[in-house]
Amino acid sequence: MVKGELGVQPSGAGRGEKLSPVLRPFRAIGRETVALVGNLGAILIFFVLSFAGIFSRRQFSETVSQLFYVSATSSGIVILVGLFTGMVLGLQLFHTLVQFGSANVLGTAMTLSLIRELGPVLTAIMIAARSGSGMAAEIGILRISEQIDALDTMGIDSVRYLVSPRLAASIIGFPILTAFFDLVGIIGGYLTGVVLMGANAGPYFYRVYSSATTADIRGGFIKAIVFAVLVSMICCFEGYYCHMRTASSGAKNVGLATRAAVVLSCTTILVADYVVTSLLM
């Protein structure tokens, strides 16, 4: 791929023209809109090329290595956050439900909250912060040190070599970690709701078991996969094109790309969560 083929910058057309103050905001909005649409198109092409690269030869070992990086190294923090999220949720829900005499539905509330929403969203945010930032920084450094150019000069498709394994690893790793998060969260709810606050363990686990339907679990996994694609694509895209930033250069661009990758990933996760939830309802 030729450098800069996909990256789109705000158009400079008409920048030097004199425009009345009333029209200037419209020009700015128009310019940003064109840049946004261009970037969306670029990231879509980036995704298509990356996805196609997953199925090419010699990807297995690199995908396994990235899976370890995305999943195994993030599992500790995901479990920790899952445990405390479950514990807080258990505590809050117990106090609320007791007021209505419904403490026995604690298991249902915990399960549905975690499987449908909190599990996929918080897991994705945790991985974006931990592994996504790493992806953006690593690819960004490869870019500024000309190692991506080196791949291209060697006839190696840099998107296939660098991005496809990360995308594949994310698609596999996000649902697995989401499942861990859900499980640990339910255990956290048990620790506070049952062990600490004294709710009955039997109804808790019965509700956990009986409340979650296949559709809930499937929905949770669909969200996890959507978030995996978004996070890995945003982070890899930001790193891959960090050299296109014109305001600064070099290591500063890598820093900016990493920051943008995490912020954009987290924001996109929340927006996408709403969209996917609406579609699944």
Binding site: V2, G12, L142, D149, A150, T153, M154, G155, I156
Partner: protein
């Protein structure tokens, strides 16, 4: 008429409002070292990146064996790219991979060779670039010169037809600069590729170049041989020659023969040349078996010997200049050929002792497996006549060269003749 391997036709490239290349026309021929020189910011790297396809021209076309790159289909483009290698200025080695993994990467990713075949080919190149001991080290654990060699091994592992070198000597010390340029010339002879080189290291780079291309204000100011460059009346060439006159070679402390050409031309032109003027050409050769001496050490040893010889000959009123890496030419007025031969013979023993001491000391720094080195100084003496030019004198003296001193060192550092 020769068909160029790569040809630029009216290539223009702009970045925003700045025109970096402006209708560049350029020919690169097969099996030659073409060096692109020019001031910083004249678009040398941009030009090189056009060849490898990292940048595409805004206007004009680039032809490979007469076929425009832009008209190539996917298969042709892939084949074209497979024949090219690019040595980056900063090496662009993958720092998370060992030297072996770096060198093997192009083969792993772009060929269907088996693991053992890949290992064999990668190790062969690593051995040839004298990095066997560092094969499993990471780039950050290597010296600058070793990193350059690792990058060169990676660039050559696919047996490319064309290798593009982007400022291979930038940031290197004077000794390493000469070592790297020598390495390029040596490997080009050994592996037979076409080389395109960007360098600021004037005049050292001239010794390894077959053709020179001068980029000037975004266009090709000149392309031709080194001798043609010197005859050219171009503002940059004038600047260049002016700088050469005062240039002292950084390694051996000797002026270049260009200084000789300009400073001592009157000796030849107005009959001022003494009737008994002779010239001697000394060539210092060093072959090292085993990784006991770094190239830098070898260059330092040669530099020390060259400096010693230069000192001795200068004491006699000789004019001493450097022709190439380990090649010295001395002009001795009022000294006959016989007298010069006797002088050279008398210096042979002390040179041998000095070289032996330096090499043994350097080799002793690196205790390890068996090694040997073979050090020789060859000398040729010729009569100089007023109609001779500097190149003619150098060639005459070279034709009668014989070994005047030799020194062989072995595992225990025991010197023997």
């Amino acid at each position: 008429m020769r068909t160029p391997l790569i040809e630029f036709k009216d290539v223009t490239k702009r970045f925003r409002d700045k025109t970096v290349l402006d209708k560049v026309n350029l020919k690169i021929y097969e099996n030659e070292v073409t060096t692109i020189i020019g001031k910083s910011g004249t678009g040398k790297t941009v030009l090189l990146k056009h060849i490898i396809g990292l940048i595409r021209p805004d206007e004009g076309s680039i032809l490979f064996r007469g076929r425009p790159l832009a008209a190539m289909n996917r298969r042709e483009w892939r084949e074209y790219k497979q024949g090219l290698s690019y040595l980056f200025q900063q090496n662009a080695l993958f720092d998370s991979m060992t030297v072996f993994e770096n060198v093997a990467l192009p083969l792993v990713q772009t060929t269907s060779l088996t693991k053992s075949e890949i290992a064999q080919r990668a190790m062969r190149r690593i051995d040839q670039t004298e990095l066997s001991d560092a094969a499993h080290s990471y780039p950050s654990e290597l010296s600058g010169g070793m990193q350059k060699r690792a990058a060169l091994a990676r660039a050559l592992v696919t047996d490319p037809a064309v290798v593009l070198f982007d400022e291979p000597t930038t940031g290197q010390d004077p000794i390493r600069k000469n070592v790297i340029l020598g390495m390029i010339a040596q490997y080009r002879r050994r592996f037979g590729f076409t080389a395109v080189l960007i360098s600021h290291d004037i005049p050292d780079v001239f010794f390894v170049s077959d053709r020179l291309v001068l980029l000037w204000d975004g266009t090709v100011g000149f392309e031709g041989t080194y001798e043609e460059v010197l005859d050219l009346s171009h503002p940059m060439i004038k600047e260049l020659l002016k700088s050469l006159e005062g240039l002292q070679d950084e390694v051996v402390g000797l002026p270049m023969k260009e200084a000789f050409r300009s400073c001592y031309a009157p000796l030849f032109s107005d009959g001022a040349l003494a009737p008994d003027t002779s010239a001697t050409r000394l060539t210092i050769e060093l072959d090292v078996e085993g990784a006991v001496l770094e190239r830098e050490d070898a260059a330092a040893a040669m530099g020390a010997v060259a400096a010693h010889m230069s000192h001795r000959l200068s004491q006699l009123g000789g004019i001493v200049v450097r022709c190439a890496g380990g090649d010295i030419l001395a002009l001795l007025p009022h000294t006959t050929v016989e007298e010069t031969n006797q002088l050279i013979e008398s210096y042979a023993e002390e040179i041998k002792e000095q070289a032996g001491a330096v090499l043994t000391r350097l080799a002793g720094k690196n205790p390890g497996p068996a090694y040997s080195f073979d050090f020789r100084i060859k000398a040729g003496v010729a009569q100089v006549s007023p109609e001779d030019d500097i190149d003619g004198i150098a060639a005459k003296a070279a034709s009668g060269q014989r070994v005047i001193a030799a020194f062989q060192g072995g595992r225990k550092g025991e010197g023997q003749q």
